[in-house]
Amino acid sequence: MDWDIVIGIETHVQLRTNSKQFSGASTAYGSEPNSQACLVSLAYPGVLPVLNKEAVNCAIRFGLATDAEIASRSIFARKNYFYPDLPKGYQISQFELPIVNHGKLSISINGKEKEVRILRAHLEEDAGKSLHGIVQGKTGIDLNRAGTPLLEIVTEPDMSSADEAVTYAKKLHELVQWIGICDGNMQEGSFRCDVNVSVKKKGDTKLGTRREIKNLNSFRFIKQAIDYEVNWQIERLEDGEKIDQATILFNPETGETRAMRSKEEANDYRYFPDPDLLPLEVTANMIDKIKLSMPELPASVAERFEKNLGLSSYDASELTANREVTNYFNNVLQFECSPKITANWILGVIFSQLKEKDISISLCPISPAQLAKLIQRIEDQTISNNAAKKVFDALWQKPNTEIDLLIDELGLRQISDSGAIDQLVEEVINANINMVNEFKSGKEKAFNALIGQVMKASKGKANPAQVSEILKKKLTI
């Protein structure tokens, strides 16, 4: 029995604003409980919401970045339900008329491009936090997070595998950071996905019943949860049982999903337009102003890197995965270094160092200028690529050191003087007649062995390219 998997994703993106969606309370993460809960956050009698301009700008930026329609008029609606972390007893969201409609995001799957349609994106507010374990059998409510601006991004059910879902989620995660609307910190809850999963018999046009896996905040969990859920659904259907619509939670420890207890009865949210807020007007003027301040989008930058700089599409894609990396790369190129060498160094040595130290490129101690200098010294043959790696390691410990000083300190200055190399080669040839004869009788490997001898004799400082050239000349006479 062949099955189709159908996945749609709703992502809650916390917007990078200083203050909350509907009040001037701070949105800073990690403060003492309820120290950032203002009158409005606490839902005191009589308080009223006033909309954050920057949150609207963020939504517009997202609409522009996904080629979406930005509504000139959108309405805020109340989503009514009771929960202790929802102080008003309703969430202010958008229902029938959201601010962004019909966008798209392209993902690359197995080398092929696939378009995921974004049905809508709307502005709403986050709820507070429930803290368990403060008192036995009770829950403590912290409203610092209540009211934080969110953009909820909803796709059509266009994804057909866990891989596609994760690829989309990753791409979206990069994009919202790229355009500066979200800090992307998943551990802090800045980017949370609800994944809707259903299965149907291959070729069936009718969709199966979907279950919604809530609040996945890591890409690994998204994959695990989908894999488990798909298997679970298929097993049930193959057993002849039917699937009930449900909201489910993923347990990262067991790797299993299970239905939430409190959502047994479908919630009737009784949406209606919030009478405390007026229709949100977005003018062409506002959109144009924001267009001017938008950064070039990653796909477009990657294309430029491929066409103008001759980078491979993989490298171009990796270098535009995140704006900080792109900025770093561009900054190095300002010193007119070879784009290919620069790309290799960033994606190779630097990335592996960053991974080991578990830091982002913004915390890389080696500045673009320093890396540029190092690459220049490779390009002008002062040091070999291998020697450069040693300089790099030393530089990492003492990032402000003059590179030339470091090269001399480490004695890594490459011997490029052809006269000196000539002499070394001569000496090695004379000391290794057997190897020379082996080469002359057809053993290619002997050539490299001879080079190795020269390098040894020069304590690694001889310019390998020059050694090779001179040795070849001498041996083919």
Binding site: L39, L42, A43, Y44, P45, G46, V47, L48, P49, V50, L51, R78, N80, F82, P84, P87, K88, G89, Y90, T139, I141, L143, D268, R270, Y271, F272, P275, D276, L277, L278
Partner: protein
């Protein structure tokens, strides 16, 4: 002192005939003496009031005063006042000491007015007789066996009994105008958005407006000058240019076109009340106004529409009362659900619960289109009725209430009968227009109010029209027997 206008009281303070401290103490004494008869006040805090009075006296001393400086004002217990218990007439907020001031309260504080105390009201502003308050019913000072009207019944009784020279109220379906009519004083509901709703405990957000309650139109103008004004903390607050509502009080009204809606004079209106209103209209005619017949054809739908929209908005606004962060919480409960259910069962009174249920119902799945959406459409029709009418007239007049004050308990058990009290006032709130009630006569020593409905932001004109009537008549100076 009990029948001095606000302007005269101001003169008295400025000319040092008395101090704010003395004035405030005077009214506090009156409250202490008479409040138990009428139950107009829920909270009195003499210490706080007198401290404000002292501060006012200092302002007056240094010449930095305005008309309301040092004047005691009774505040409907719907306005959050920092440090004061603010109950909204409900057990739900019986223990709620507000941590902040409503914008309206802040404005009074800024000019140095004195908070005389928090007045009684129908629970969460839901009612037309002040019989649903957790703190007991309010009695009409004209006849203690009768209701004062509602929901601003406490403020109304305080004015009628002259326990305060001025008061604030709120009006969602008539809760300033109807009590003004039943208690014989002047009350004004401004254009929606003129007065900030920040800090005013919400009942029906798209209908609620705060307004002044005082013996005369001139007094109301003094109060409105302080209360009105754009507030960026209220998204529905309108940035209307600041006006001086006293400036045009004495404009001549000759040539004024008064629209008289035939729907306001159909069955349901008490015959004697009708006579009083007609006499008042005649007075205006004598003053040079012209009476124009108009029609507001959708008037009969105002009550059904109101009783969909108001409970719907209220059901959502009152969801925050859940015992989690402040206010009442049930004493015993087994789990979270139980806590919610019991807290809200015990904390809310009957009328509030009824309206929450109606509101929840009309918003629920399957009913939204037929009820809430339909109501908002008819609301547009009602609003358009007024637009058309204002093409033919400058102001609309009619009765404020269908009868004089009725007996306590008479309509309490019949919600529909109670709802009909608001039949003439409700459409004004639905359209967001300003409305006033001024004393126009008496029937068996019970007051009858004349309602004025103006076009958007025409408060200045309405106060002028009311003032003109009050220059020719003395109904607004009458006091109940026994008030001295």
């Amino acid at each position: 002192m009990i029948n001095l206008s606000l302007k005269s009281l101001n003169q008295g303070l400025v000319k040092k005939k008395f101090s704010s401290l003395e004035l405030t103490q005077f009214f506090l004494n009156r409250v202490e003496k008479h409040n138990s008869d009428i139950n107009a006040f829920i909270s009195i805090d003499a210490e706080k009031s007198l401290t404000q009075a002292k501060h006012a006296d200092a302002l007056i001393q240094s010449g930095q005063n305005s008309l309301l400086t040092g004047i005691p004002v009774a505040q409907k217990d719907i306005f959050c006042s920092a440090g004061w218990r603010t109950t909204c007439g409900s057990l739900m907020l019986d223990n709620f000491i507000s941590p902040y001031d409503a914008t309206v309260i802040q404005k009074f504080n800024e000019v140095g007015a004195v908070n005389l105390g928090k007045t009684n009201m129908d629970e969460f502003a839901m009612g037309s007789s002040n019989e649903t308050s957790y703190y007991g019913s309010v009695k009409n000072p004209w006849d203690l066996s009768l209701v004062p009207g509602g929901s601003s019944g406490g403020s109304a009784a305080a004015i009628a009994a002259r326990l305060a020279p001025a008061a604030t109220g709120t009006d969602t379906g008539g809760s300033i105008r109807q009590p003004a009519s039943l208690c014989g004083f002047t009350g004004l509901k401004p254009t929606y958005g003129l007065v900030s709703r920040f800090g005013m405990i919400a009942f029906a957000s798209s209908l609620d407006q705060a307004g002044p309650m005082a013996p005369s139109a001139e007094d109301c103008a003094v109060l409105l000058n302080v209360m009105a004004g754009y507030d960026e903390k209220d998204s529905t607050s309108i940035n209307h240019e600041k006006e001086d509502y006293l400036a045009n009080l004495d404009e001549p009204i000759k040539g004024l076109r008064i629209g008289v809606p035939k729907e306001f004079f159909e069955k349901g209106l008490d015959g004697s009340v009708q006579k009083v209103i007609e006499a008042a209209l005649m007075s205006y005619k004598k003053m040079g106004a012209e009476l124009v017949d108009i029609s507001l054809p959708n008037t009969h739908l105002a009550i059904p529409v109101y009783y969909v929209i108001a409970p719907a908005e209220a059901s959502s606004n009152l969801s925050r009362y859940d015992g989690v962060r402040y206010g009442y919480r049930a004493k015993e409960y087994n789990d979270l659900m139980d806590m919610y259910f019991k807290t809200r069962q015990e904390g809310f009174g009957e009328e509030v619960k009824r309206r929450i249920l109606i509101g929840t119902y009309v918003l629920s799945a399957g009913y939204y289109d037929a009820y809430y959406l339909k109501a908002q459409k008819i609301r547009k029709l009602i609003s358009d009725d007024f637009k058309k009418a204002f093409e033919k007239c400058d102001v609309i007049m009619g009765p404020s209430a269908p009868s004089v004050a009725f007996k306590a308990n008479e309509k309490k058990s019949d919600p529909l009968a109670m709802y009909l009290q608001d039949i003439y006032t409700i459409s004004t709130n639905l359209a967001g227009l300003p409305g006033m009630s001024i004393p126009a006569g008496m029937i068996d020593n019970l007051p009858v109010g004349l309602q004025l409905i103006g076009n958007y932001f025409k408060e200045s004109q309405m106060l002028n029209i009311a003032h003109a009537f009050q220059k020719e008549t003395d109904w607004h100076t009458r006091m109940p027997d026994g008030v001295s």
